[in-house]
């Protein structure tokens, strides 16, 4: 290999390392800032901050548990709904639909990622919440009312509504990425499978297996959007720091409590509690990401092993 090549390579590599390290620096600086600003509540409550279930700013009592619960459950609802849907759309776009149809649809899906969350929130209040109150809620209570998940009062505002809105916002992101991932899987693979007598669906399953890591990436992106979503969720989730088995009851997420209160909080301990919530969200994201990755890798293994 020529000399300029090796020098070029090491320069190239160094530049890339700097770029990659930038991400670490940003996250580290962010964590440092949040730790520094949450020292008052860390001193005051210690580990109890995570396990405390009462959030009473007026009495200076701060417990993050209801928010952790709300964040995880609403994101789960969002992913359970959004991932199959997104996979379905992406498969349809790449494997089935002719370009003439696929192109405008793909376009539209990307556009939807750009709609400000205020708009999703308004739609949630005007359309989704009444739909849940009048149709979906009573239906679920009639047929599945024995499950605690579907008991409780029905105002249309609550955990389920928040989760569904999140799902809607996550879908364009997951779809767009999965679509691109599927597109890059070589056509030869499909042809080989079809030639061996596999049905169209079986071929798709094989393609999915090969794209598993990319799909996992897409899911992580979607999860990120769900965990960090603020405005739209704030508008429909009911904003009550409580832990209730019912999906119809109001709940609260970490991101929405931050968005709703950061601007207005002047009290030092309150500010500190809010910023520590940000730190908690980091932690939740860490754990959930790790779990999601394990899960997707498992699925991928099973599929390719089959």
């Amino acid at each position: 290999m020529s000399k300029t090549g090796t020098i070029g390579d090491s320069v190239f590599r160094t530049i890339l390392i700097i770029f990659a390290a930038t991400i670490l620096v940003i996250v580290a600086a962010m964590i440092a800032m949040m730790v520094q600003n949450s020292i008052p509540t860390i001193r005051e409550f210690g580990f109890g901050f995570l396990t405390g279930s009462r959030w009473l700013p007026a009495s200076d009592i701060y417990g993050a548990l209801p928010f952790i619960y709300g964040t995880i459950v609403s994101s789960l609802i969002a992913l359970i709904l959004a991932v199959p849907l997104s996979l379905g759309i992406a498969i349809f776009l790449v494997e089935q639909a002719p370009a003439r149809i696929a192109r405008p649809i793909a376009f539209m899906v990307e556009l939807l990622a750009a709609i400000p969350s205020v708009v999703y929130g308004l739609w949630g209040i005007f359309v989704l919440a009444p739909f849940i109150r009048v149709y979906l809620g009573p239906f679920l209570q009639n047929y599945f009312g024995f499950i605690p998940l579907f008991q409780g009062r029905l105002t249309g505002i609550g955990m389920l509504t928040g989760g569904i809105i999140m799902a809607l916002m996550v879908t364009p992101i997951v779809t767009a990425v999965v679509r691109d991932v599927l597109e890059v899987v070589p056509t030869a693979q499909r042809e080989a499978a079809l030639a061996l007598g596999a049905t169209k669906w079986e071929t798709t399953v094989i393609v999915l297996g090969n794209a598993a890591s990319g799909i996992a990436g897409a899911v992580v992106l979607g999860l990120g959007r769900a965990l960090g979503e603020t405005m739209a969720v704030t508008m429909v989730i009911g904003n009550s720091p409580q832990i209730s088995a019912s999906l119809f009851e109001p709940a609260y997420t970490i991101a929405s409590v931050l968005a709703a209160n950061f601007a207005e909080a002047t009290d030092k301990l309150y500010m500190s509690a809010l910023i520590e919530m940000g730190l908690v969200l980091f932690l939740v994201t860490f754990i959930v990401n790790a779990l999601a990755k394990l899960l997707v890798l498992r699925v991928a293994k099973r599929q390719t092993g089959h």
Partner: protein, 279 residues
């Protein structure tokens, strides 16, 4: 005979699943079309030349979002200039050299950063830039947007580059080309359309962000081209219109949303033209 039944069953399953995916697409697209149509329906009548070029006026006196369009434009471009190179560079690193501990760490932190609510990014930049400068600024706004873009772009870039067939690189490497040339001239162009998708998603995502701008770029009633001054943006303006009591302003919020979605559409088309997506 048994073979036939199995075959028919497989065909049947295939048919069902295939229709299911079509149903998924139809269902979501239907919901999404409704949302888009609703925005258009609510917003279209408020759009005029005056609305596109003037600055906001007191309620009931008309006014427009010209300064917000300019502000959003400046901040999006500046954020992309900061965020895209870093994000794409980091993504290339992760894909090409990222299998050791450093890469794994960066990847994991990038995934975590994606899930950080944008408001935390806003608080971060507020502490880092705004407080020392004692002034909100377009630059601070751009920086928060860039921080939101970076991990999204990095992860999508990585996924797309990983999918470029190994045979493509090996051919060039075998001919004695240095790795950086292979990456720059062969791998990146092959993955360009995918990277563009990632960039588009990131731009789309930051275009819809309000929370990080509220503390960093604030907003302005005036046309402002200086990035060290508070700067208006479409989303903060939409937020202001939408959260106020006045129906006229609510309508302007819908109209501004329509403009925002329209602008994203245009950017999307331009990016697609240059990266020649082969559908």
């Amino acid at each position: 005979m048994a073979n036939d039944i199995a075959h028919n069953r497989r065909k049947f399953v295939s048919g069902v699943m295939t229709s299911l995916t079509a149903a998924c697409a139809t269902f979501v697209i239907a919901i999404l079309v409704i949302i888009l149509a609703y925005i258009a329906y609510r917003g279209f009548s408020a759009i005029s030349w005056e609305f596109l070029t003037e600055t906001p006026k007191p309620v009931g006196e008309g006014g427009g979002i010209g300064n917000a369009i300019v502000g959003s434009g400046i901040m999006t471009v500046l954020a992309s200039l900061i965020g895209l190179p870093i994000g794409i560079g980091a993504g290339v690193y992760l894909a090409e050299f990222g299998d050791k501990w450093f890469g794994t760490t960066v990847r994991f932190f990038a995934d975590t950063l994606i899930g950080v609510p944008s408001i935390i990014v806003g608080i971060f930049v507020y502490t880092l830039i705004v407080l020392p400068m004692t002034r909100q600024s377009g630059f601070a706004g751009s920086l928060s947007l860039a921080i939101i873009m970076i991990p999204i772009v990095a992860r999508t870039t990585e996924e797309m580059i990983r999918l470029v067939p190994k045979s493509m690189r090996e051919g060039a490497l075998a001919l004695g080309a240095p790795q950086w040339r292979v990456t720059w001239n062969i791998v990146l162009p092959a993955a360009a359309s995918g990277i563009a998708t990632g960039a588009m998603l990131a731009i789309a995502r930051i275009s819809g962000e309000t929370a990080p701008l509220l503390f960093t770029a604030l907003n302005s009633r005036f046309y402002n081209f200086y990035v060290d001054q508070p700067m208006s943006s479409l989303t903060v303006q939409i937020y202001n219109f939408a959260t106020g009591p006045f129906e006229v302003e609510h309508q302007m919020a819908w109209a501004a949303t329509l403009i925002l979605v329209g602008l994203i559409l245009i950017i999307n088309i331009i990016v697609r033209m240059f990266t020649k997506k082969k559908y």
